[in-house]
């Protein structure tokens, strides 16, 4: 009986996550429609990861008190690809919904990369390779305060070429930062080429395990899989940091982006955005 209740609850949650993720994808496209400077392909690959974090009950937050001491800390290290955060922050009340129309417009606080002047954003982002190291310091600080809050970091796979990432990977493993979760948006494409042709990171989960992390690889568009991986991290009893290698598709949901290795710098015009939103609706 208990299992039945849990299954129904999980099914309801997954249905909600699916609905939210689809909405976030459409809204992200709409933002790109008014702000072509934003990196749309990189943002679309992270949608399910972000939706599961914020709507799946894993990230603790209080939009009325963005700096609430008991919150989980979320670091959007792959800043370029986190435009998908804006509709989520608006939906949850961190920022006004009307602000979504101001992205990249003069005077707006919502730029092409989310920065710490925005409620709910912890760090200055966009310069790649910083987020995980700062998250390590936050995790040590939370441990010192005996807080049960966790730190979640989203990095891109192209970002993993930064040496500072591996300084942080080694540090977190050595320190046993079990309150730290790294999610790699593993979309396989950097700016100029497939990651495997630039610096081949395979097998990434094994590399991370060698550095004393718990690491799993999941389909990053499978909401249930991301959800379970986050649950495992929260409930883990090991003294290791947790990594989720989320295999994703860059430009997910827009066929012309999905099939283009140079999609990172590709811009959709208003008509293409409208068509993409229409298809997703």
């Amino acid at each position: 009986m208990a299992n039945d209740v849990k299954e129904i609850a999980d099914a309801a949650l997954l249905a909600r996550l699916k609905e939210k993720a689809a909405w976030v994808r459409r809204e992200t496209l709409k933002i790109h429609g008014i702000a072509p400077e934003t990196r749309i392909a990189s943002s679309l690959s992270a949608v399910e990861v972000l939706a599961t974090l914020y709507y799946g009950g894993w990230l603790r937050f209080d939009p009325r008190q963005p700096q609430w001491e008991g919150r989980d800390r979320f670091i959007a290290s792959k800043g370029h690809g986190c435009i998908a955060l804006y509709p989520i922050l608006a939906d949850l009340g961190f920022i006004g919904r009307e602000e979504l129309a101001t992205v990249c417009k003069p005077g707006s606080r919502l730029g092409g990369i989310p920065d710490m002047q925005i409620p709910g954003i912890e760090t200055t982002n966009g310069s790649l390779g910083h987020g995980l190291g700062v998250a390590c310091g936050i995790a040590v600080g939370l441990r010192q305060k005996r807080s049960d809050a966790r730190v979640y970091v989203v990095c891109g796979d192209g970002e993993l070429c930064e040496g500072s990432i591996w300084e942080a990977v080694m540090f977190a493993g050595q320190q046993g930062l079990s309150n730290l979760t790294l999610i790699v948006d593993y979309n396989g494409i950097s700016m100029l080429d497939y990651c495997r042709n630039i610096i081949n990171l395979e097998p990434l989960d094994r590399k991370l395990r060698e550095f004393q992390w718990d690491a799993v690889t999941v389909d990053g568009h499978d909401l249930g899989a991301v959800h379970r991986a986050l649950a495992d991290g929260r409930q883990s009893s090991t003294s290791r940091p947790q990594a989720i290698v989320a295999r994703t598709v860059k430009g997910k949901g827009v066929p012309s982006l999905e099939s283009d290795v140079l999609c990172h710098v590709k811009t959709l015009n208003a008509q293409q955005v409208a068509e993409a939103v229409g298809r997703l609706s």
């Binding site: 710490m116 002047q117 912890e122 760090t123 200055t124 310069s127 390779g129 910083h130 995980l132 190291g133 700062v134 998250a135 390590c136 310091g137 936050i138 995790a139 040590v140 600080g141 939370l142 010192q144 305060k145 040496g163 500072s164 300084e167 942080a168 080694m170 540090f171 320190q175």
Partner: protein
């Protein structure tokens, strides 16, 4: 009476922090595997607040930043040239930029200012840090000239919730200041000697060398020690300098590249001052020639003799 002992700035600095760590639980030391005798005491007494990230300056700054985001006071410690340059972008983005939005008490403590590591060669010489650090908004920059001042900078660092770069000499030094001076660290400078129509303006270890030179100049020159580039009371510094007809700047840094000389030239220009400036420092090249600090100073014309000659030279 001032304390006449010879001591390294880093030991004075960390001895003060050790006292503070005994009183406050919110202080962390983060090192890139670089030590000091005074640091050994901290490591043994407060192992849970002493973090060795390994030889990884970017990690040191990032970890110190994350801890400060959680409200801790942190000290990222290593060799000055590497702490200021290997992780410059971390300092820019995570400290200088972030400090515009929120308080962050992160202290980048670099040992080996200027030519401290004389015999280690140009990789360990640090001739660029003042230029690079004073460039960054919101970053406080300290360049103390004696160990008592270094200890006072440590004391002040506990209470200023802005990021800081603190450059310390690696060699033992004696104290230049009498007890209680300088009166106010917020001024950023102190006039150590008055006299004549020329004022020598120096920073860090070069204030020590300049004072020795001035002892031989029969009161022909004054001496200003610039121990901070931010905070710096520029109006008061100008009022001090306008009493003189000439200024001689002395630094272990590149000339005309944004360091002490550039700061003084800019200050005088903003006041349309008719004060001649002669800058002594390192002229746009690295020092591969092996030699102790006195030898390197002689090569660059920033030894006592070079300073005395600059004082004696007629105004252009």
């Amino acid at each position: 009476m001032s304390d006449t002992r010879s001591m390294t700035m880093r030991d004075a600095f960390f001895d003060r922090l050790l006292e503070a760590m005994r009183q406050h639980e919110n202080i962390f030391i983060v090192t890139d595997d670089f030590g000091a005798p005074a640091l050994d005491k901290i490591r043994s007494e407060f192992g849970d607040r002493f973090i060795n990230v390994g030889i990884a300056e970017q990690s040191a700054v990032n970890v110190a930043t994350g801890l400060a985001i959680e409200g801790f006071t942190t000290y990222a410690f290593g060799i000055a040239g590497f702490m200021s340059m290997r992780c410059y972008e971390q300092i820019r983005t995570n400290l200088s930029m972030a400090a515009q939005v929120r308080p962050l008490n992160v202290n980048i403590v670099g040992v080996g200012a200027g030519l401290s590591y004389d015999l280690s060669g140009p990789s360990h010489h640090c001739l660029e840090d003042i230029t690079l650090m004073r460039l960054l908004p919101h970053l406080e920059v300290f360049s103390p000239s004696d160990w008592a001042l270094a200890a006072r900078v440590a004391e002040r660092s506990l209470h200023s919730h802005r990021p800081k770069y603190i450059r310390l000499d690696s060699k033992p030094v004696t104290n230049l200041y009498q007890d209680g001076a300088p009166a106010d660290l917020e001024d950023g400078f102190c006039e150590l000697a008055h006299g004549g129509d020329t004022c020598v303006v120096a920073t860090g270890f070069m204030t020590q060398v300049s004072q020795r030179a001035l002892a031989q100049s029969a009161g022909r020159a004054g001496l200003v020690d610039v121990f901070a580039f931010r905070p710096l009371n520029e109006d008061r510094l100008f009022r001090t300098l306008e009493k003189y007809r000439r200024v001689v700047t002395v630094e272990e840094g590149f000339l005309n590249r944004g360091g002490l000389d550039s700061m003084i030239v800019g200050l005088l220009a903003r006041h349309d001052a008719r004060i001649a400036v002669r800058a002594l420092g390192v002229n746009d090249h690295y020092l591969f020639e092996v030699g102790n600090r006195a030898h390197l100073h002689q090569l660059c014309g920033i030894d006592e003799r070079g300073i005395l000659q600059a004082i004696a030279a007629p105004a252009a």
